[in-house]
């Protein structure tokens, strides 16, 4: 599929709108109108471009923001749930647990205990290339042909 610059710009706009946690989140039909595509084409093009449907993208974006807020440690799980636009604490917890691998309360306790320098991002949110390499076993850096156990 070939996407012209205008199409790319519109779909990026839709992506930004999907990420904003708002009381009244725009429906997929609203967004399709906003970017001047039919709902069918909007969903299809969005998925081809970003690898997930608009709905999946919104859920993922909300969970990402939830992780940041929980890591900052200044909000309760209930506050975070409301802040990112979930109306039910139960569905938020279930979804968070399924995607992140632990309940929001457990995640909050774990990442909060890390030492934080003011003005920096919590270490749990920095899975940068170098920090990943720093935590690899030393054997990972030996001759890969012989000593590295391929996953």
């Amino acid at each position: 599929m070939l996407l012209k610059p205008e199409g790319l710009r519109r779909l990026c706009l839709a992506r930004d709108l999907l990420r904003e946690p708002r009381e009244a989140s725009p429906t997929i039909a609203d967004l399709a109108r906003e970017v001047q595509m039919s709902p069918f084409h909007f969903i299809r093009r969005f998925e081809a471009l970003f690898g997930v449907t608009p709905h999946q993208y919104r859920i993922q974006a909300r969970l990402d923001i939830a992780r940041q807020l929980l890591a900052a440690g200044r909000h309760s799980v209930t506050d975070v749930c409301m802040e990112v636009g979930f109306s039910s604490l139960g569905s938020f917890s279930t979804l968070f647990t399924r995607r992140v691998g632990e309940a929001p309360s457990v995640y909050r306790r774990r990442v909060r205990t890390m030492v934080q320098v003011p003005g920096t991002v919590p270490a749990a949110l920095i899975p940068g290339c170098l920090s990943l390499m720093g935590r690899l076993p030393s054997s990972a850096f030996a001759d890969p042909g012989r000593s590295f156990r391929e996953a």
Partner: protein, 128 residues
């Protein structure tokens, strides 16, 4: 000093691994769990064999902001060399890959740009 490893940020490592192997055709070299994330690298079957591309999670908000801004501006974040750019364009298009620029000459190379479904635009180039 030599260049052995480079990396690209992906918004979802599992999705990234699928795209870079199943769609692009790279081979998985390492896949090691590291906390919540994974250390994933791929290599090209066309070589050079010891140069690895790491698929890094973009969980750092700063990385995400950078990635999204580059994407929205239509700027590719990496470039791969190909031998037959028209053939790659046809092959990837058949797999629903979105191109923002079809193959077109640009001086000494022919360029094309596609979206990797993980938040990046990637440039393909063929020397002419």
């Amino acid at each position: 000093m030599r260049i052995k490893l480079t990396s690209i940020m992906v918004d979802d490592q599992e999705k990234g691994l699928r795209f870079y192997t199943e769609v692009l055709g790279f081979r998985k070299k390492h896949d090691i769990p590291v906390g919540e994330y994974r250390w994933i690298t791929v290599t090209s079957p066309e070589g050079p064999g010891d140069v690895e591309l790491a698929l890094e999670p973009n969980a750092n908000p700063a990385g995400k902001a950078f990635q999204e801004a580059m994407f929205a501006q239509g700027i590719p974040i990496a470039a791969f060399e190909v031998g037959d750019i028209a053939g790659e364009f046809a092959r990837l298009s058949a797999q629903s890959v979105v191109f923002t620029r079809p193959p077109a000459p640009a001086g000494p190379v022919t360029l094309a740009i596609f979206a990797d479904t993980c938040g990046n635009l990637i440039q393909l180039y063929q020397r002419t």
